[in-house]
């Protein structure tokens, strides 16, 4: 599964980077997005949802970051 690693990237650059990375992903494909704790995990999932993608799951790892699973959705 493709992984988009946005650890260490602050808002809103992380969201814009996610958008750019998702441009190259086929519709319906599931990807994993790695996000820092704090603002990134609060803001980025919400913004991606507003863009129309389907959020599938969120898991906390041992290393203080989160894995967001998302299915790319494009009209």
């Amino acid at each position: 599964m493709q992984v988009i690693d946005l650890r260490g990237v602050s808002c809103p650059t992380n969201f814009v980077k996610a958008k750019l990375a998702l441009e190259d992903v086929d519709n319906g494909t599931t990807v994993r997005i790695l996000l820092d704790d704090g603002e990134p995990v609060k803001n980025v999932p919400r913004s991606l949802k507003a863009d129309g993608h389907k959020l599938l799951a969120l898991k906390q790892t041992d290393e203080e970051h989160y894995i967001l699973e998302l299915e790319k959705r494009e009209e």
Binding site: V41, K42, P45, R46, S47, K49, A50, K54, L55, L56, A57, L58, Q60, Y66
Partner: protein, 314 residues
């Protein structure tokens, strides 16, 4: 002939206020009315033209979202009003009246906004702008969410967008994003890995609804949290809670009801703001008055507006 030099002005143009004396001889600031801080681009262009023709080298953006034309010679008042096109761009207010409402961008394009603050601001501007209070100025502000960029509680009446969240457990996928997003920790994940909600710490920000991937969280109620009696300046007060989930369509009626109480209770007290009137009368009197018209929104009890210790003028 001396008559030819006599300036003739339509004094009706001055009635609503908005012409403010400057330091320089003959010069005034003309404060234009921009309810909610929203201005169409063509109007902005028009104002720029008028400023260029009659004003100084810049305009000033007031802290309450008005555009102020600077260095306008009083002899040009009529020409300025004419050039602005009075229908499209009325000048703003000053003095003991209901002022132009302030509002954030609202919910149309701002992802945080829970309610249509722009619509509320326009409605209140249309229905109540310029209403004389008989006592002192009267300011209203609309914030679309509890982040409250407009600092609503520092106004005579401050409105803050709010939603009451409700969970559909069957639609929940146990992702935990809502609990993660909930700053006041009103949502925690339970033993069954589903969110548990307690309404006591909730500030009605709706972050859970906004982040929920499946729509399991939705808004059961939507409206305004209303705080009354705030002001800033020399003796600041922070307004306190008088109503929750006030429906958006009742906003103008609510303000009118508060004005009614204020006009009556402040009689004989001189130049006094609403907050100080509440402190004098006690907040229960205003609560009781509001409850008759807004029984579903008025809170059971509240406290008087809170004094902010500035340590100056003790």
């Amino acid at each position: 002939m001396s008559d030819a030099k006599q300036t003739k002005l339509d004094l009706n143009n001055l009635k609503a206020g908005g012409f403010i004396k400057e330091r320089g001889k003959d010069l005034f600031t003309v404060r234009l009315r921009v309810p909610g801080g929203r201005m169409s681009v063509p109007r902005l262009k028009k104002i720029a033209e008028v400023a260029e023709k009659f004003g100084g080298e810049f305009v000033h953006l007031s802290v309450r979202q008005s555009i102020e034309l600077i260095n306008i010679n009083y002899k040009n008042f009529d020409a300025v009003v004419e050039a602005l096109g009075e229908k499209q761009q009325k000048v703003a207010s000053c003095g003991a009246r209901v002022r132009v409402p302030v509002a954030c961008g609202g919910c149309e394009y701002n992802p945080n906004g829970l309610v249509d603050t722009q619509k509320s601001a326009l409605e209140v501007d249309e229905k109540l702008f310029g209403t004389p209070t008989g006592h002192h100025k009267f300011k209203v502000a609309f914030a679309g969410c509890p982040f409250d960029c407009p600092k609503s509680a520092t106004n005579d009446i401050g409105f803050q967008g709010a939603i009451y969240p409700e969970l559909d457990k069957d639609a929940c996928i146990s992702c935990g994003l809502c609990a993660k997003n909930c700053v006041p920790t009103a949502i925690v994940m339970g033993e069954d890995n589903k969110p548990l909600f307690s309404d006591d710490p909730c500030i009605w920000c709706g972050d859970c609804v906004k982040v929920c991937p499946t729509g399991a969280w939705s808004a059961r109620k939507k409206g305004y949290t209303v705080r009354i009696g705030g002001k800033w300046g020399r003796n600041p007060l922070v307004g306190t809670l008088f109503a929750t989930f006030l429906p958006e369509e009742r906003v103008a009626d609510f303000i009118a009801a508060v004005l009614e109480w204020y006009k009556h209770k402040a009689e004989g007290l001189g130049r006094i703001r609403l907050g100080d009137t509440i402190i004098k009368e006690g907040p229960q009197s205003l609560l009781d008055h509001l409850r008759t018209q807004f029984p579903d929104s008025t809170v059971a009890e509240t406290i008087a507006p809170q004094v902010i210790a500035t340590q100056i003028g003790k």
